[in-house]
């Protein structure tokens, strides 16, 4: 088995990795970084459970080799809170209990974090676009949208 060595930066920490060249980022996060908040859902880039941020943009991690992300800043769901302070989306999800089983929630929060980092007050269309491909089976969509609207309301109130 041919293995290669490279360095990945995840949630602000760099780590030396030895893996096969094709090993997708998802498995490196879960196996080598022990960050299991990013989920394996389909392995086909269809369900969004494996979403992470790479340099602030959403990337589905279940197929793309980790080696593609050398010299990039990778942020997983575990790295979204700063100094143990939840971001406004996580906080709002708590206030609206915006999860049922929670398997899809990491990917949804990651998607919304990208959106709200890029746009202060996103339009409804942009919210739906951001969540396109983020599948949920328990039907938490309505509570997720309530939590999103709450973030918008708070941002509007704070000018």
């Amino acid at each position: 088995m041919n293995k290669t060595e490279y360095i990945l930066n995840v949630n602000g920490k760099s780590k030396n990795i030895v893996s096969s060249e094709d090993k997708p980022l998802l498995y490196i996060l879960r196996d080598d970084f022990n960050l299991t908040g990013t989920k394996l859902g389909c392995g086909l880039e269809q369900c969004g459970s494996c979403a992470v941020l790479v340099d602030g943009s959403k990337v589905l991690s279940c197929n793309r080799p980790a080696i593609e992300f050398v010299n990039k800043k990778i942020t997983t769901i575990e790295g979204i809170a700063k100094n143990e302070v939840l971001n406004e989306i996580q906080q709002s999800f708590k206030e609206f209990n915006a999860a049922q089983c929670g398997y899809c929630t990491s990917g949804i929060i990651v998607s919304l974090t990208e959106l709200f980092n890029k746009k202060k007050i996103p339009e409804s269309k942009e919210i739906v676009e951001s969540l396109s491909g983020q599948l949920c089976r328990c039907g938490s969509h309505a509570s997720v949208l309530k939590a999103v609207n709450n973030v918008i309301k708070i941002r509007k109130n704070h000018g």
Partner: protein, 718 residues
């Protein structure tokens, strides 16, 4: 004056009648709840903690709910059929009431106080004079505590009016939003092998041979192959290497097809195939009796209408694939499973592997939500089997997306045929309703090893099992076939259709989704025929005041909101199993020029008895609405003669955020009434209300789900 009521402590207390079966007290301030129900995202842990918290006047954060572990938690059977709060919730409430009453007696006696003057503060009673105190935790150390029994009926309970409009954070949300909530899939042990199953094209393929050259590849990649007849698994310590090898190993195997998967379209097979046909009587039980002919009336003032409704095979479609972890060591199994039937699995695995039940421990660990019998039980059996072969190693087996989509037991395809006669006063005097479907009940069962899908491959002599019709009230196919309405005469018929192509079992609501959709869409056809308001028409056929209140509540809700441009509305209603929650749904939708259905607004009114956790009820009904809307608009398992075609999310579309309406939910609180299960009540009314709004939009009833562009166009063009 505070009103009093009595509590029937219910089914779970019959088996576990000691307070200590349900509650344990851990110093300094922790209370543990035991439950035999599993939290699959329905917030049962929060609901139980909240019930206990209110009765014991203790902060919910001091109350912890133990995950099911067959060595220590009560066996409450399967977590299904909307019975978690009615069973476990009632037991916890009863245990908490009995505990508190006895604690107060004990505290009064120990501190020499008058019971009625005692002030309970965070589980502690203090003597204001001496400052001496007695706590719940002190009492829990006494012999008296372990003797406390829960009676069948508890009298004189104060009817407290609780404000449910404050936010209660669910038990796991804090860890979920930070990615710290552990699912079964996240388990890690030293000495663990990851596993995947290599499956053929269909149920009817058998292993013939393997290209021997594959063994070199396996050796080079530290992988092991396990073959038992046609059951093939691959194992290794690196999960990705296992996944990567799947196609390569699959392609090295020669399979033979011993039978076709299907030889006709499923709705034709439902008509053609052999059936067990039973009469269902008012009350919902089924009987092996002669089937009466459909009645016809000669009165020219009467109107007779007919209807038909088809539902395709639906999948559970859990976002995370089914998974299980098992180790067999020193003659004992330790197994982690996200099944809803953990206790049943224990007995079955004991029989299957000839290991005493006392040597099997099953732990529940969360999987991704599904609501029903998906692959969770199959994968647990498979993981146990592999761990028996690879002793002393943890085996973490996960299904692939294709496994999940193609090998789970689906919700059966079904057909409903109805006839009704209205008299000259626009009252329904005759109602005939027939349900046709495969079984919904192949959950794990002792003596039915064949219900596990892998038995078809492990056992070369496997013969397809023949389902037996169940006769209990509202079982499977005939769930909610008996309408709640006061029709003068009914003819209800259940048909268990044999030899249908796909494997089936329990999917959220079983037959109730189809039966309620069929009933409530036909009710709408009838009210349109006689030009009566749909609320009024239903109320004209109801005697149950709670049902009438519910419909009026929905009507009030819907009146407050303006109709959207080009919007059409539909309503529907049912009481799940005619014994659980009442639920009424209103939907507003538009249909675009290219026949795409957009959901604009939805209103839900629900009566689940006494409210334990309002936000939990809202989450259940709104989540159930969204899942049922997805079934109604998008979902259908596709297959051909040889294989299932809906192998991934491209081949099996489900609802997304682009078609979620604004949902408003009204929860009617019936203080002092029994808790009614709420997880499934909304599905049937959702399917029917969407169909009813569509009929108003299109002027025609669309008879087959899903109400997709393809199906609507097909029917409209004839």
């Amino acid at each position: 004056m505070v009103n009093k009521y009595k509590l029937n402590t219910g089914a779970s207390v019959k088996d576990y009648n000691k307070v200590s079966d349900w509650l344990s007290f851990e110093s300094p301030d922790k209370i543990n709840i035991s439950t035999g129900k599993v939290d699959i995202g329905q917030h049962i842990s929060t609901t139980l903690a909240l019930i206990c918290s209110r009765e014991l006047e203790i902060d919910i954060n001091s109350i912890f709910v133990k995950k099911l572990n067959t060595d220590i938690t009560p066996n409450e059977g399967i977590t299904a059929s909307s019975l978690s709060v009615p069973n476990s919730g009632t037991a916890i409430k009863a245990a908490s009431i009995i505990f508190k009453r006895n604690f107060l007696d004990y505290a009064a006696k120990s501190l020499n106080l008058i019971k009625n003057n005692i002030k309970l503060d965070d589980g502690v009673v203090k003597d204001p004079n001496s400052n001496a105190s007695i706590s719940f935790w002190d009492f829990s150390q006494t012999e008296d505590f372990f003797k406390l029994s829960i009676p069948e009926i508890i009298e004189d309970i104060n009817q407290n009016n609780i404000d449910h409009n404050f936010h209660v954070e669910t038990k796991f949300i804090n860890s979920i939003v930070q990615g710290e909530y552990r699912f079964l899939h996240d388990l890690k042990f030293d000495n663990m092998l990851h596993a995947r199953i290599i499956r053929p094209q269909s149920y009817s393929h058998r292993f013939v041979s393997i290209d021997e050259s594959i063994y070199k590849y396996l050796k080079d990649h530290n992988l092991e192959l396990f073959i038992k007849n046609s059951f093939v698994a691959i194992l290794g310590d690196d999960e990705y290497e296992v996944i990567k090898s799947l196609n390569r190993v699959k392609n090295s195997i020669k399979w033979e097809q011993v039978d076709k998967l299907a030889n006709d379209e499923v709705f034709n097979l439902i008509d053609k195939n052999n059936k067990d046909t039973l009469v269902v009587k008012r009350g919902g039980e089924a009987f092996h009796e002669n089937i009466p002919e459909i009645k016809s009336y000669k009165n020219s003032n009467y109107k007779t209408l007919t209807s038909e409704f088809n539902k395709p095979y639906l999948m559970h479609g859990s976002i995370g694939p089914s998974a299980s972890c098992s180790i067999y060591k020193n003659g004992k199994f330790v197994i982690y499973s996200h099944s809803q039937a953990i206790y049943a699995l224990k007995s079955i695995l004991s029989n299957a592997f000839n290991v005493e039940e006392e040597n099997i421990t099953l732990h529940f660990m969360p999987g991704a939500g599904c609501y029903g019998h998906n692959g969770a039980d199959d994968v647990t059996y498979e993981a146990a089997l592999l761990s028996k072969e690879f002793e002393n190693k943890y085996i973490l087996l996960k299904w692939t997306r294709e496994d999940e989509n193609c090998w789970e037991p689906y919700g059966s395809a079904s057909k409903n045929k109805l006839t009704a006669t209205l008299d000259e006063n626009n009252k329904i005097i005759y109602w005939s309703s027939e349900a046709y479907s495969d079984t919904y009940l192949t959950r794990p069962m002792v003596g039915k090893l064949e219900y596990f899908v892998s038995q078809r491959f492990i056992n070369n002599d496997f013969k397809k099992y023949k389902a037996e019709p169940r006769t209990g009230a509202h079982m499977g196919i005939h769930r909610n076939l008996d309408p709640i309405y006061n029709f003068k005469e009914t003819r209800l018929v259940k048909n268990l259709v044999h030899d249908l192509p796909l494997r089936t079992s329990a999917l959220r609501t079983l037959g109730a989704f189809a039966n309620t959709t069929a009933t409530e869409t036909f009710m709408d056809d009838l009210c349109i025929e006689v030009n009566i308001d749909p609320f009024e028409f239903r109320i004209n056929h109801l005697d149950d005041n709670r049902a009438i209140d519910l419909l009026n509540d929905l009507k009030t809700q819907m009146k407050k909101d303006k109709l959207s441009e080009n919007g059409f509305r539909g309503i529907a209603f049912s009481r799940y199993k005619n014994s659980a929650s009442y639920c009424a749904v209103g939907v507003e939708l538009t249909v675009s020029d290219n026949v795409e259905v957009e959901l604009k607004q939805a209103w839900i009114s629900v009566d689940a008895g006494e409210v334990a956790f309002k936000e939990g009820i809202e989450a259940q009904v709104e989540g159930g609405f969204i899942q049922a809307a997805s079934w109604s608009l998008y979902e259908k398992v596709d297959f051909d003669n040889n294989e299932i075609l809906s192998k991934d999310w491209d081949g099996y579309k489900i609802i997304e955020f682009d078609n979620i309406p604004l949902i408003k939910t009204s929860v009617i609180n019936r203080v002092g009434f029994p808790y009614l299960g709420v997880g499934e009540a909304v599905a049937g009314p959702t399917g029917a209300s969407i169909s009813n709004a569509l009929k108003r939009a299109l002027g025609e009833r669309i008879k087959s789900m899903p109400f997709s562009q393809e199906n609507i166009t097909k029917q409209l063009l004839g």
